[in-house]
Amino acid sequence: MKLAELYRALNISDSEYEQIKSSLGREPNELEIYLFSAMWSEHCGYKHSRKYLARLPKEGSVCSEENAGGIQIGNHVIFFKVESHNHPSAIEPFQGAATGIGGIIRDVLAVGARPIALLDSLKFGKLTDHNVKHLFDGVIRGISFYGNCIGVPTVAGEVGFDDSYTDSPLVNVMAVGIVEKNKIKTSTSAPGNFIVLTGSHTGRDGIHGASFASKELSESSKEDRPSVQVGDPFMEKILIESTIEILEIPEVIGCQDCGAAGLLSSSSEMAFKGNSGMELHLDTVHLREEGMQPWEIMLSESQERMVFVVEHSGLEKVLNVVKKYDIPASVIGKTTDTGLYKLFWGEREIASVPPEMLAEGPKYDLDDSEPQYIKECQNLKFSHNNALSLETVIKKMISDPNFASKNWVYRQYDHTVGNRTSVKPGVAGAAGIWLFEEGGVLGLTIDSNGRQVFLDPYRGAENTVWESYRNLVSCGYTPLGITNCLNYGNPEKS
């Protein structure tokens, strides 16, 4: 297949391709095109949003450049982050939600924090729709399946129902973790160390086997390979315990989890942050399937995997932990002082790019002119229906699922495991987690208002921050930190 056909099929624009050629000083090869297609995608590269997100205030946070940010309480740091898993949940709600939990847990785990709480914000269409019921049921069961099994309590959340989410449910999941300040590990690296991959065997999960490009290059394609990721919370629990133990080893200098764009994004990011070169030998990665191509190994989104950068003197200690937990693992490469990110198959070098090209992709501006619909909404006139009695109106409101008790939902989540839950779901505006390490109770809440943001993005967002603030303050907590997950349509569509 011609390179031009390949890069266009993989959503790299002509101008982006020119950028790649010019920075590399040559044409990229096919594998390298796959690497850029993943790292420069909106999903991984945040190319339309990074400029704007950089404006958010970060003072007072610990580690704002890692997977999760933190706030310090005494000798400990509380890390927290919220992420979306909307599209996978729309396709396969149970596994989409389950793997969403898996991913967000690993984000706090990657800095060495023990996960201690989960929250979720979910939006679905109207419950009278048969498919919406299927999505709603699947997502709740998926979160329950995964969160309960790994023993992290889901302590708070929200569920909303509106027509606009009928075909595109929103599944936003938040994880909170705790770690001693001096035990935080970052996703850095340094030359002259080993790279160790632990966790599940790498398969073709998350790879879009139906794409024209992959059919050309993959040797064994029987049926269209399903791209659905399947979660294994049992493996995740073992990963949590083994990772925390591995990170106690001082010779482990960096850690990252395999999330979007799997091994590629975690390893290249670590190379970039540590100013290191890297050599990965893809034939040494422990695989679940035969005949996997290098691009498949790099882009696979197989779940429950972590990457570590380990000094030579610490490798045996790491492998001892691996053995204790009987967790699959392989030493897949090393960091170098070449400043280049290189992939090998056996002795053969098959890709070589500067890590900063992968990690620092293009940043675009958004067209921020006000859409037509906002003025139309502001000109809407509502008339009051005075014929309805107060009793009728109240009954109508409280029978709306948006106002109903969500007991049916959180009853399916283990919300008391961990022995910390001080204020349970359904009791107050915010949940309370006892921090026995430091004394005191940590308040947690997750809030959103899609309708307000739709009508007035600025005020809607402002009000959402206020709502979270009020939820905490009304329960006696002093707000300490905030994070966000913003869900929008495709920025590349006008």
Binding site: G151, F234, M235, Y325, T416, V417, S422, W434
Partner: protein, 210 residues
């Protein structure tokens, strides 16, 4: 008082249990499931969780662990007390150390709630509340065994949350040295978590071993 807490791959209430034991001033050690020497301990806990992910059946894969096989010796030698909580109860039944089995909740969904219980022991108040959190908590046993089992029942639900036969939430073995229960006493020890009815069980164990 020395407590041993067996940890299987997938166990997730081990830390909770240790915290609770230490509240009572006990020394509490973790026993990795591969280990088979239990004799140092006055009480062995099989804590809650999802050993082996609950794959195949809850407790079904854990029963092959050396620690479980060693439990049989521990009990035979009357060394001390064994308490299986939630997944621990499931493992004890799967291993044949307690009669019956735990099956999928009648509502087919996981249930996490605070539930009322009556305990067959005068040291307990008439009704207590403990947290439950399980998807496979419905106690079942063959009809012909129920008469004998009813003599061993120790804890019953006052408002059956999962369809357990005869509202059974926990029971002893014949020797009165093994207790299995679905509710979580270790989650009801601290004021901070809102309910301290779990303390009665720890006090019971202390009394048994004095």
């Amino acid at each position: 008082m020395k407590a041993g807490i067996v940890v299987f791959p997938g166990t997730n209430c081990d830390r909770d249990t240790k915290l609770a034991c230490e509240f009572f001033g006990w020394q509490a050690d973790y026993i990795w499931h591969d280990e088979s020497s239990l004799h140092d301990y006055d009480v062995i806990f099989l804590p809650g969780g999802f050993s082996y992910g609950d794959y195949v059946s809850a407790g079904g894969l854990a029963k092959f662990s050396p620690a479980v096989l060693a439990l049989k010796e521990y009990v035979k030698s009357k060394r001390g007390f064994v308490i299986g909580i939630c997944n621990g109860f499931q493992i004890l039944c799967e291993a044949g150390l307690l009669p019956g089995a735990l099956s999928v909740n009648s509502g087919t969904r996981f249930v996490c709630d605070l539930t009322g219980l009556s305990v067959n022991n005068t040291k307990f108040p008439g009704k207590i509340n403990l947290p439950i959190a399980h998807g496979e908590g419905r106690y079942v046993a063959p009809e012909n065994m129920m008469k004998d089992i009813n003599e061993l029942v120790f804890v019953k639900y006052t408002d059956n949350p999962n369809g357990s036969t005869d509202d059974i939430a926990g029971l002893y073995d014949r020797s009165n040295k093994i207790l299995g229960m679905m509710p979580h006493p270790e989650r009801a020890v601290f004021e901070e978590t809102g309910n301290t009815d779990g303390r009665y069980f720890f006090e019971l164990i202390e009394a048994e071993l004095r």
